[in-house]
Symmetry: D3
Subunit: 156 residues, 6 copies
């Protein structure tokens, strides 16, 4: 009988941030959902049965940022100072960008990624009656600042 | 002054499913997170500081399926009969597949997509101390069955 | 008026609905928030710093309907078949109307009242930087149907 | 009245409070529910089937204060230092007063208004079997203190 | 490199209940918290600073039953038909009993155990300023009925 | 007619911590679940149908620590700096130990007790198909530090 999970090594834990300084930290993330042309046109024309995709996805993304610690097991719950979620209709789909700010001992990359993901999922939900083949891709951190590791930018 | 949002057309709404039959419905979705080789090896060796990535992401995905209606504004809350979330370590990252079943008047595509997305975000969270450039992609519906529209499979 | 006289303690309990038939039930509720003229004009012009009041309040109301059993201690959790929340800008404020449908053993009055209340609170939140003296009033059930007690309409 | 004129879109955003000082802030709110005499007497006698209305509504209100950022899309999540919810049986109904305190960069008006609203909704829920025509009104901010705008009191 | 977690065997999953009949199921559970005499007397006299322990713990327990699927990873979300939580002050502490009913394809043992546990934790929270050495024990299933396995009663 | 609940004395309230210093506070708690030998062996061998008990219970405990203020009515919502949940398979069951850290004006005893309780409940859930007679006991505070009352250790 091997009980590797009981060992101190390898077990899930919420790492201790109590020694870290509460400083201003910001994260910017993006993601994309590819949408067939007729459905994308319907979104742009706000003519889908479920209603206004852009406004609804934005609100869903902002609210999801606040639920991050409920969803991601080892994320620290933290106060959020600001959230913006932007949606841009492009030629082949919709690009979502999220920006989150905190003043805390850890960063908000997960909050921004969660906002981006849930905004994209909300688009899928509202448009899926006309296009089930939509694909979500390119969810990534674009930039972060603050904390001991300081500024980071995505390559290229 | 134009108040298009107040019009009946284009406003967000949770569409009425009370006339739909409660039948067995299933959805299968997938997604992928690209991870640099050293970080991927550390995940496989279960040597990251935050602990066991695979087990934690699976639990996070299963729990997220149950939070779908809390996150996606126009999703119907519904009983869930089964959820499985599988993770496969591939050459350049980790593939997540989710399978959700309900017996209800609407499908569970969003529950499976949410499970997939949150499992992927959990991987990002646990590995981000060693690799911030991970990218999540290919989140999509693979297959659904049940309901009036019946069976659907992703192209190719 | 029936006041089933329970045991002497009068302790809180979630009453048993297991013997009640799952039938289609609907509830319609309304409420109003009085807003000073300049602020109301800013809402109508969509020029408040927090953004689009009408779309945001509608989404908040719909999502709140789904959180009712989390908020109201003795409410039964139930599947919701449909939710619509309408907002009408009137001369002295905004009127919110909510309509909720379920197929279950108990009604959705609380879900519709909660949707109405949270939509009104969201309006307050978004406009409070310009008007702290807004007052919410007239939250009430307009109509319900379904269940053993059948149709009910508010007097006058 | 300040209406920072933002970009043309008027999109929803959680405004940035990272530059604001964390100071002690307090908000006091009230609301009222009109209840028919026989039902009000039953509440006072604690003889309703659902149990003790006053104690249950108080707890519901306190707990709701903590859920405010989950419900109101653009509210900042924040630590809460204190919550009290008082209920007073008056001649024609019940008056609810809530008092919330934080030490943060933004105020707690919404937390107090949410506590008040949910306490009132809980009363409705517990008493609705005997009186469906109850009306909730007069939900408003009575007083706030702290922050850059300092003390504010409701007119009259 | 061994990836036992990826194997079908041993991985966490929400088991499929879609083939099970929706029947009336009930579970009764209990638990106990040992409390020092002076603190127990203060609870009985309702003189603790945090207020009415019995009423608050009851509400907390009822509400927790509804949060079970949010807390316990592999629990199925289900409609709840009834919840009662009873508290009895005994010689050396407080006994909590919970009773939960559903009409669904799986039982409500976890809902009743969660209600019991959270009611006991609430007592601890409210009384801990006067007694930190309280111990919670004897949380167990007393009785269940319904479903394929039918009636079950705790031994002795 | 006595309305003691309306009196200022004895009513539930979230006590004011705004005057307390934000210092590092830590709490350690434990609890135990007695499990029949065959079921305990199956858990150790990771051969239960619901999957990996130890890893799942650990994640559930960590996530529950973050939900404490949602569950326990008068608990203050607070940032959490660290959570660890350890599980040890003993001769007659599984012992759960939780450690929680915050930097705030109040302690985290309830967060650690909630983590412990939910980890134990998760074990019950995953193993109940083979043993319904499991009993949870010995949930208690082992040690706390920080705050005005400083260090405290459980007797013996």
């Amino acid at each position: 009988m091997t009980l590797t999970h009981v060992d101190a090594q390898g077990t899930a834990r919420m790492v201790d941030i109590s020694a870290k300084a509460a400083t201003r930290r910001e994260a910017v993330t993006e993601g994309f959902i590819a949408i067939a042309a007729p459905t994308l046109a319907a979104i742009a024309a706000n003519s889908l049965a479920k209603g206004d995709v852009i406004a609804t996805a934005r609100i869903a993304g902002i609210m999801a940022a606040k639920r991050t610690a409920d969803l991601i097991p080892l994320c620290h719950p933290l106060p959020i100072d600001a959230v913006t979620v932007d949606l841009a209709i492009e030629a082949e789909g919709i690009r979502v960008t999220a920006n989150v700010v905190t003043t805390h001992g850890t960063g908000v990359e997960m909050e921004a990624l969660t906002a981006t993901s849930v905004a994209l999922l909300t688009i899928y939900d509202m448009a899926k009656a006309s296009d089930r083949a939509m694909v979500i891709s390119g969810i990534r951190l674009l930039r972060k600042s603050g904390g001991r590791s300081g500024e980071w930018r995505a390559p290229d």
